[in-house]
Subunit: 381 residues, 4 copies
């Protein structure tokens, strides 16, 4: 009972069943421990046809709503939000191609994407452009029919995976207003001049986060998404909204997984002759955890519902992202506290939630950035 | 956009308009400052016909859902939850009469209640029976056609108001299981032998909290609600569920009022040459406050929706009560911090929210009691 | 064992004994409930000779260290920080006269102050000058041998008590840098043209907070403290440091009182057949509360020790004030939660701590102001 | 200025200098990343003679106070508490040999320990005996001149390092009161029948946590520490107190390192044209972090001082451990938030503090265990 329709509840159940029966927590854990992309699972999901769910029918998609897609993200993230991200990350970029691409670009990229043959990674951050994305300094110069790209990118998730096209924010012009003069290029990750290095990050291990060095990387001008100068609009617009709704769903789904695991542990673990669930402080801690997850779920569903209906919802989406990520961080920390030493081992799965919970409040716009956006919407005109 | 229907949004707006135009924040403040019951407002609401909204048509009510009623409670509490309580408190007891009363009792009490001519107060707690209500020791002995009641009651809100009937939990029998042997009597507050004293409480000032001493109070046996021994069932059942949903709605509506006031103040108050909203720590504090209120709203609406549909929702109601009361406490405290010295004065209305926020996590089942119930529901069978 | 010497421990004990035997919690409660200045207690303390403890021997004082004085404040605040403030507030101003006064001013004011014949009150804030004290707009114009003062002051504690001289920050000159052009005048509160009104504040009830309207108030030029333009230096200097150390001591002493009361209640209150101390969540809550108070005590003693030795300690004093005030707020809120309905009544003394705890993080420099000062000290040079 | 003497301040500085010049943060980071014991550093510290600091002069030690030793632990933990543990862990066990060992045992073990030739590891926990250590089930049966040990141990830090003797809590008798019947054996980790496996834990990577399987491990009866049945007294007594004081010191020293790093980063990192320290929310976050660390430092010094003087200090030690571990967890989490993506990489050192901060509130007695002990001391007699 969370304001879902019958169909949505069935859809939610069927995704959960799929995750439990076709993928399993051991597989997701192994990908994390080995810093290995969940490619087998990705291909299974491609076979289910879920990669094209959210795309408009005109480009071959199913036209599923953001809300329903977010429900999928919730359940895919049950055993870890990084797994959910591995599956959904390319979609947001592909959506950008569906929206802003030329007919040729769509033809070139979308069908292969739906079939699982190519993937996308989005590359925005740089050493000096984190929250301040407009400060992008990687330079793309037009030389004849090509762009020549030089610079350095950071925190690009999934850029090094096979068959991947990097969708990169670059500066094509120096402008007063730094947000102008930015453009987006589609760069296959095998293009000469690219040097992509995996980073030994605390979290986001199966997707893999990279830094990218670009040394005279040459890209045909036809591989620009949108027009020169459209970069900020493409990257900062609906794309981000969608990504944040789904991120919130992933954090929340993962938080629920953490609470469920902690609860089961509390019932099974016996100390001083009784399950530790019988200790009042742990029992109340679990009650608070589940209450917080339920609140995160409702905030996320509200945001997803509004996004699906095309209503203005920047504030509500920021609230969902803020609250769900902080919830994942809090409940996974409490989960670690409940599981004690056992939680420290990968087998218990909680330390993964704990590491990813720290990533959650930082990645995709920090909690501070979300609060800034919410406060902006609360500004009295 | 909070999963409300068009009709619910209109209903919500119309209650808010009524509060702003017909009652006003000055009136509500004055009642609190003077520890005076909002009788004029109560009668206006009786005239609107809102006292009978939630009652089944069979007894002359409108059969409005709990959800819609909770929406009314939310908006009535906009300027203070104590005002909302003053209006709605008698309703829960009247609902008990509608449910458990004899045809005579219904006839005697319901119509006059709908017309605003009589009110109800519910009396459960005793000096040694707080969270542990089953420990009730006030004794009612059957003597002929009457019950003779002796003992002491505590924390009885509204017992001293004029035209009030106290619905009291009493012990009619000593039993092994303390929850058996309890019964409910309808006791007009002018009955000889009653000594009702107002307490100088920190909050709940307009409703007024009392202690009651009973010295050979004689009540006709026909004024028992239900049968002897039904007390625990009547008081602890659906009654409490309903009361908690509405309490959650009131806390949440009041929390929203507090955030709105703090936000307006932050925009108007100038220090160091700029509105204090421009200070990032205050702006982010406000963003967190509004996010928390939105989460409380959604948890409350979910609980109200489930209660309306007759679904099992003990856990969800406890979550709503817990989260909404803690939210009111937190946002009112932050509101005080934002308003500084100005918040200390009754005119700013924030110190009222602050005092009532402390009452919120204690009254109607403490936060600890709510967590115990949630944890109980999380017990794996 | 808190790094106190034997002598300090004895001093601490003797102040506590004095408070318990000569003053008592009932008296302090009564002053708060009735918004009445604790004049009897004040005169008893005068008789003990404690008014002059902190003053240098040259002006007739005892030359006691700030550390030992803070220990006195801690214990005087045991039953409420507002009582401690009522006793110690005039001292900080008198210290300013000892530091900055002319021989005539010292003669006129100090001996009578030591004898309890006159008191002081300090007046800084204005409607548009709260945290931004440099924005003072109350104007004092030199006319012949007098200053003529016009304007409005706010939040002036104790200004309306009998035999009180207000030490007021006024603007004697309009300057580019707003902090220049401020001066300090000594204004007996019976001077014609003063209109002093008590405010119905949530806390600080026995000291009484006032607003002051000044309409052509005429003060001899000889009643200026320091030279014209010295105002910021006098008010913002050592005076504030000393006041904040003592405020921290008061908050901490009061917080200890609140924890002790909550602990005793938890042992005496029986529910479900056992003292509620046996409930693990309450027991752990009390453990956290006492730990926080102990941390506050140590931070305060450190600051007091450094201040006594004349070491630079702006950061340490801000930490003590921040942490002690937040501690009082937190432990009194938890104390209310533990005491339930009983805590709502003045007799339980906890609601007083709770109201004063809210005042604590706002008055004397808000928590935000303290954090700003600490961060300032953390700036890399 | 933290109530340290001149000598203590000099000692503190000299340890810090040693860590910075002779060990360095890169070395400590490398040990963590590679799950490698810091043996080179350990031997350097042996050469300094610091292994015997704490030991009584009668057994060849320097008779240093627990306070001064805790100061060393604070500084050794500057770049990570796990490093401090690697150095100091064997000492607590060696101290047990000094206290409870026979002259032969002291001769056999202490001199080699001071020379760095052998190390100790303490083994208490089992799969079903975590917080409930009395539930120890590993069985040692007396057979002739030997004990034959069977069972399984868990969370034994450092058991697998070379030249290590495991000091193990075993059950030599089945008794009604489970705490009786426990004894302590000294078991060289090369003894046949031992199977020691390193665990892939989230934290404590350089010390390495192990599980131990014992299959008919035969130990001469002369290798029992104390008498049969002394186990609980030896393990649960002074040993734990000392270990907790030092643990608190390590957490606190490490927390200070984390705050310092976060502060430096905030000054260097430029976004939106200014160091992020200029953003008020981050500046205030840092102010809170430093305040909390200072409070943790003072609570730790107080506990260390009392322990040094032989005063009863179970409550104060539990407070120090609780508050310091929670502080490390909180400030490292905030440090991660401040450093954003950069914090996710081992090079930034913050993710190490973050992982170890989670270990801190769990290991050496969880926060819940500490609160239970504090509350126990708050019980009214």
């Amino acid at each position: 009972m969370n304001f879902l329709s019958e169909e949505q509840i069935m859809w939610r159940d069927s995704v959960e069943r799929f995750v439990d029966q076709e993928i399993g927590r051991e597989y997701i854990r192994k990908c994390d421990v080995n810093r290995q992309h969940p490619d087998e699972a990705y291909q299974k999901i491609a076979k289910m046809g879920w990669l094209k769910l959210m795309f408009p029918p005109e480009v071959g998609g199913d036209g599923v709503s953001v809300f329903d897609y977010a429900i999928m993200c919730e359940m895919l993230s049950k055993y870890g939000v990084d797994f959910g991200v591995a599956i959904m990350l390319p979609t947001f970029t592909a959506m950008n191609i569906a929206r802003h691409g030329t007919p040729e670009q769509r033809k070139q990229y979308l069908d292969p994407f739906f079939e699982g043959k190519i993937r996308f990674a989005v590359s925005i951050s740089e050493p000096n452009a984190g929250s301040d994305a407009a400060n992008t300094q990687t330079r793309a110069e037009r030389v004849g029919d090509e762009y020549v790209v030089n610079g350095q990118k950071l925190w690009c998730s999934g850029a090094g995976l096979k068959n991947t096209v990097i969708v990169m924010l670059v500066r094509t012009e120096k402008t007063e207003d730094k947000r102008k003069g930015l453009s987006v290029l589609l760069i296959p990750n095998t293009t000469p001049g690219l040097d992509i290095r995996s980073l030994p990050t605390l979290a986001r291990r199966s997707v893999s986060t990279t830094e990218i060095f670009l040394d005279n990387v040459r890209i045909p001008a036809s591989q620009m998404l949108g027009k020169p100068g459209d970069g900020w609009k493409i990257i900062g617009g609906e794309h981000l909204l969608l990504e944040r709704v789904c991120a919130a769903a992933g954090y929340m789904g993962s938080a629920q997984g953490a609470v469920t695991d902690a609860l089961n542990y509390a019932h099974q673990r016996v100390q001083f002759g009784q399950p530790i669930f019988e200790f009042q402080v742990l029992r109340h801690m679990l009650a608070d955890m589940q209450t917080q997850v339920d609140a995160a779920r409702l905030l996320t569903y509200r945001a997803a519902d509004m996004a699906s209906k095309g209503l203005p919802c920047g504030k509500e989406v920021a609230m969902a992202k803020l609250f769900a990520s902080e919830t994942l961080q809090t409940v996974s920390r409490n989960g670690m506290q409940i599981m004690g030493g056992h939680g420290m081992l990968p087998d218990a799965d909680m330390e993964r939630h704990f590491r990813e919970g720290m990533q959650a409040t930082v990645g995709g716009g920090t909690s501070q950035v979300q609060r800034t956006m919410i406060a902006q919407a609360m500004r009295i005109k």
